[in-house]
Amino acid sequence: MTSGFRARRHAAPTIEPVRSRPRRVAVAGVALLGLVLAGCANKGPESTFRPEGKYAQKIDNLARPWFYIAGVVGLLVFGVVVYIIFKYRARAGDERVPRQLHGNTPLEIMWTAAPAVLLTVMAYFTVTTVISVNKTAKSPMVIEVYGQQWWWEYDYTGPYAGIVTATDLVIPAKTEIQLKISSRDVVHSYWLPRLNGKRDAVPGRTQPMNIEADTPGVYMGQCTEFCGLSHANMRERVIVLSEADFATWAANQLKPAAAPTDAAAVRGAQSFAQRCSSCHQINGSYVDAAGKTVQFAPVDASVSLVSGVAPNLTHLMSRGVFAGGTYDLHVDGDPAKPLNRPDLEAWLRNPSSRKPMAPDERRGMPNLGLTESQIDDLIAYLSTLK
């Protein structure tokens, strides 16, 4: 499949017409072919050649024929070049001056028209596909997607309004989802290679993007528009659940945060209220040991970040990864598995050493100078946010 096209393209330069080096060429050709086959066996988790759901499939259906056509055209050109090089090389003792042929108008018209016709056909299918992948589905589930330096936030709407998550987008399988993509600071780009082509997140604009996944599973992606310092650390995942699992997940997300019970967690909650809650939101309130109702102050935009928000942590432990997908929150990024404590501790000690950020310019998480016991307490509290 795809590799066939690539094999030819990459093998081409080695089919060089140097008579004196046929063995070297053959060796290089075989070596290169081996490498390409190795590349083919490698089916990366973000490969555009593994479409999932109808939108990515439509793109693949459109693009794939051109890869074959391009392979054939490329081979044709290389073939002609190689033929010319062998056939028309100057030979010793040949004093003849070749005929000074200036051109041939019918030929010129033919080889102008042929690619024009081919490309007209491609243009037709391109335009119809553009229209079809942008067609809005009937009453899809709408989720707002916001990019900010350097993580993604998802705000659910409709029956799920109130669910706010970060990095991990959880959706039901076999359901039309419309993402409404925007940005809170610079231009980002939201891309899920296996589900659809990318859409830029542009501040002041909202772009729709349709996705639909047929099979439950985890689909990876990353920000693909250069967005500053930690552009490389702005990843996302789509967790596709069966419809029943999704209903369970959503019901849990809509609950307020659990109240801390053990002593460490209570201390952690107090630390959180003092140190973290000006940027990080936790929904709901709880009654502490003294019988006092504790409610985290809403995020204070005047002291918080340029983008205005940090990830909502109400159900932090239902996520697999943290810090824009840079680190696993749970082992293997699977919320069902144990907490990945070392990375979380290291993050709380000094976030900027774990992910380049610019906290001095209110872009990214500052170093809070937490003591080890404060970190233990905070993690004890965060662990309750299931």
């Binding site: 690539r6 990459h10 330069p13 390409v36 590349g39 089916k43 990366g44 988790p45 973000e46 490969s47 555009t48 439509k58 793109i59 459109l62 051109w66 890869f67 055209v73 490329g74 050109v77 290389f78 002609v80 070049v81 010319i84 090089i85 028309y88 100057a90 001056v97 070749p98 005929r99 000074q100 042929l101 200036h102 051109g103 010129e108 080889w111 690619p115 490309l119 007209t120 243009a123 391109t126 335009v127 553009v130 942008n134 231009v187 780009s189 891309w191 659809n196 859409r199 830029d200 604009r205 772009q207 990353q222 920000c223 528009e225 250069f226 500053g228 310092l229 930690s230 552009h231 310019e361």
Partner: protein, 654 residues
């Protein structure tokens, strides 16, 4: 301009009593013909061409080192060679350098040196403006590079998407240096473009109609028109950026009614014609080299010319294909997909015509020919992958991944750079009168060809596997690891090839002297000596056909067979020597005016006082320049009868 007149110096020189050689009444007019002073004050298009070439080559090496650092960082997952910020600066400067400080000025080097020779002119229309353009480029480039020493290089990418380039998100002075440095190099492109357009349209040798013009000159002409219209667009964009950063303007701020997409439209409205600015000169070079070493004329000359012109027009209608993911709406996407498809047609026509040129020829595999054929094949790969971007839904899967990095490096390295190297080897004897070593040259070629395929070939694969560009590291387990190692090996292979070329160039200073016509060439410039005298031609040649030089050497016998009837040496001996040639005199003022500009720019970043000093320098320089006659009055010992023969020609009034 090609003004043929009697002794113009009498009219232009200040009225009587002025000391000979005095300019602006204060400084002695520069007279050096050798030594560093001659280079600083030169207004000879050939010396300026060499200055462009040497400076561009220097920036090529710098940009290459940046590329190697990038590749070292990415050689393995989670690389630790460069930090995130340094990496961002590095790829920004790599792109900016290679485009604005290497390929564009290197094409300008060839254009400057070759165009007047190819059309039989003595110089360009405005020689001092030409010098001014070069110094603007050099000072603009140096100014950009000063950013490394004053708080950090630009870190917003060469494409500088707003709002990431605003002072809120890019707090060092890097982007200010970018906006101002490119503004100054833009002046170089703009003045150079106007100069070459006027030169080509007005100063061709008698008999050289537009359709008898050498194809390289044609492509240069198209490029200059593209520049004349494209540079103002980027200038506007850069001013908006500067005003935003320095004076709080809000063009790109949606909260104040601005729009980040405004920058993208302006940038790509410049940026896409710019792509053709980069590639067409190399197309021109290859269209000269292939016929010479195939011993055949360029097949379908009018079609190659008109496809170049067509690219020049159509290049304006495709910019939004850089923005298929930006949110311009399905209608715009569909329209720009279609236009982008069709710009592939004239490009394809060129490739087929090159093949037809070689078909039935007698191919000599010189180094220049190696590079030219290399371009034909490599550019084809870049062209075919380009069509996958015209298929816009497919583009949304590929844009901003390594696939697109692969695509444009096949176009720009496999196309533009290989073409420029073909030009180096082909025209080296013309420019320096010495030969480059062919054996070393062929090794250079193979290293570069293999290197470029190792570097950029696998980028197609990792791009389609989902590796985004402009990321300082990548995680393991995504299928990128092995390919990235190969890419880094490839980058060093290219570097060794380029290194070998530099050695070759240095060695050529003591290399064998070039014969008058080492390649059995076809176009007019080879009628002159190697290197040509300051006035190019001892008498202006009259042109009868496209391959004028070839047809002076070869004629058909009774049987219709082409036979060599004269060698280049014989033709050279037979030339008529015109005793009365006046060339414009060197001048201090272009470099003085150009030097004032970065000083003004520095003032916008640091202290407004710099701007005052720089502004005064510019004003003073312009004033002196305006008063200075094009040609210094003659020295008494050079004096000859002012009412002498009517053929006296002055290359310029500028």
């Amino acid at each position: 301009m090609a003004i043929i007149e009697r002794k113009p110096s009498l009219e232009l020189a200040p009225a009587g009593g002025v000391t000979p050689r005095a300019a602006a009444g204060v400084f002695a007019r520069p007279t050096s013909e050798t030594g560093w002073k001659s280079w600083v004050t030169t207004i000879d298009h050939k010396k300026i061409g060499i200055l462009y070439g040497v400076s561009a080559l220097f920036f090529f090496l710098v940009g290459g080192v940046e590329a190697l650092l990038i590749r070292l960082q990415l050689a393995q997952p989670n690389g630790k060679i460069l930090g995130a910020h340094t990496y961002n600066e590095m790829f920004t400067m790599h792109g900016t350098t290679m485009i604005f400080l290497f390929v564009m000025p290197m094409a300008a080097a060839f254009g400057n040196y070759m165009v007047p020779l190819q059309i039989g002119a003595r110089d360009v229309a405005f020689p001092r403006l030409n010098a001014f353009g070069f110094w603007c480029f050099l000072f603009g480039g140096c100014f950009l590079y000063l950013s490394w020493f004053f708080g950090g290089a630009p870190d917003g990418g060469w494409f500088a998407y707003a709002p990431n380039t605003g002072s809120l998100f890019s707090s060092s002075h890097g982007m200010d240096f970018y906006a101002l440095g490119l503004q100054i190099t833009g002046i170089a492109s703009l003045t150079g473009a106007i100069n070459l357009i006027v030169t080509i349209l007005n100063m061709r040798a008698p008999g050289m109609t537009l359709m008898k013009m050498p194809i390289f000159t044609w492509m240069v002409l198209v490029v200059q028109f593209l520049l004349v219209f494209a540079i103002p667009v980027i200038s506007v964009a850069l001013f908006l950026l500067l005003f935003w950063r320095q004076f709080g303007a809000r063009f790109f701020d949606p909260g104040s009614g601005g729009d980040p997409l405004l920058w993208q439209h302006l940038f790509w409205l410049f940026g896409h014609p710019e792509v053709y600015v980069l590639i067409l000169p190399s197309f021109g070079i290859v269209s000269e080299v292939l016929p010479v070493f195939s011993k055949k004329p360029l097949f379908g000359y009018p079609f190659v010319v008109f496809s170049g012109v067509a690219i020049g027009f159509m290049g304006w209608g495709v910019w939004a294909h850089h923005m298929f993911a930006s949110g311009i709406g399905p209608i715009s996407v569909a329209v720009f997909s279609a236009t982008t498809m069709f710009i592939a047609v004239p490009t394809g026509v060129k490739i087929i015509n090159w093949l037809a040129t070689m078909w039935g020829g007698k191919l000599q595999f010189t180094t220049a020919m190696h590079f030219a054929i290399g371009l034909v094949v490599m550019f084809t790969i870049g062209g075919l992958s380009g069509v996958t971007h015209a298929i816009s839904p497919s583009d949304t899967q590929q844009t901003d991944t390594y696939y697109i990095v692969a695509h444009f490096h096949y176009v720009l390295f496999g196309g533009a750079v290989l073409g420029l190297f073909a030009g180096f080897f082909y025209w080296w004897p013309k420019v320096f009168g010495r030969m480059l070593d062919e054996r070393l040259g062929k090794i250079t070629f193979w290293l570069m060809l293999i290197g470029l395929n190792l570097t950029f070939g696998p980028m197609h694969i990792v791009g389609l596997q989902g590796q985004p560009r402009r990321q300082y590291h990548y995680a393991t387990g995504l299928g990128f690891d092995m390919w990235n190692v190969i890419e880094t090996i490839g980058a060093f292979t290219i570097a060794s090839g380029v290194g070998l070329f530099v050695i070759n160039a240095i060695k050529s200073r003591k290399g064998p002297k070039a014969a008058l016509d080492p390649w059995d060439a076809r176009s007019l410039e080879w009628l002159s000596s190697n290197p040509p005298p300051p006035h190019n031609y001892d008498s202006t040649p009259t042109v009868h056909s496209i391959d004028e030089f070839f047809h002076r050497k070869y004629e058909e016998d009774e049987a219709g067979e082409l036979k060599k009837v004269a060698t280049a040496e014989e033709l050279y001996e037979k030339r008529v020597i015109d005793e009365h040639i006046h060339m414009p005199s060197p001048s201090y003022w272009p470099i003085v005016v150009a030097f004032g500009l970065p000083v003004v720019a520095a003032g916008l970043i640091f202290s407004r006082w710099f701007s005052v000093v720089g502004g005064l320098t510019v004003l003073l320089g312009l004033y002196a320049w305006a008063l200075e006659p094009a040609t210094a009055p003659e020295l008494p010992d050079q004096h000859h009868d002012p009412e002498g023969p009517a053929s006296t020609e002055v290359a310029t009034v500028g």
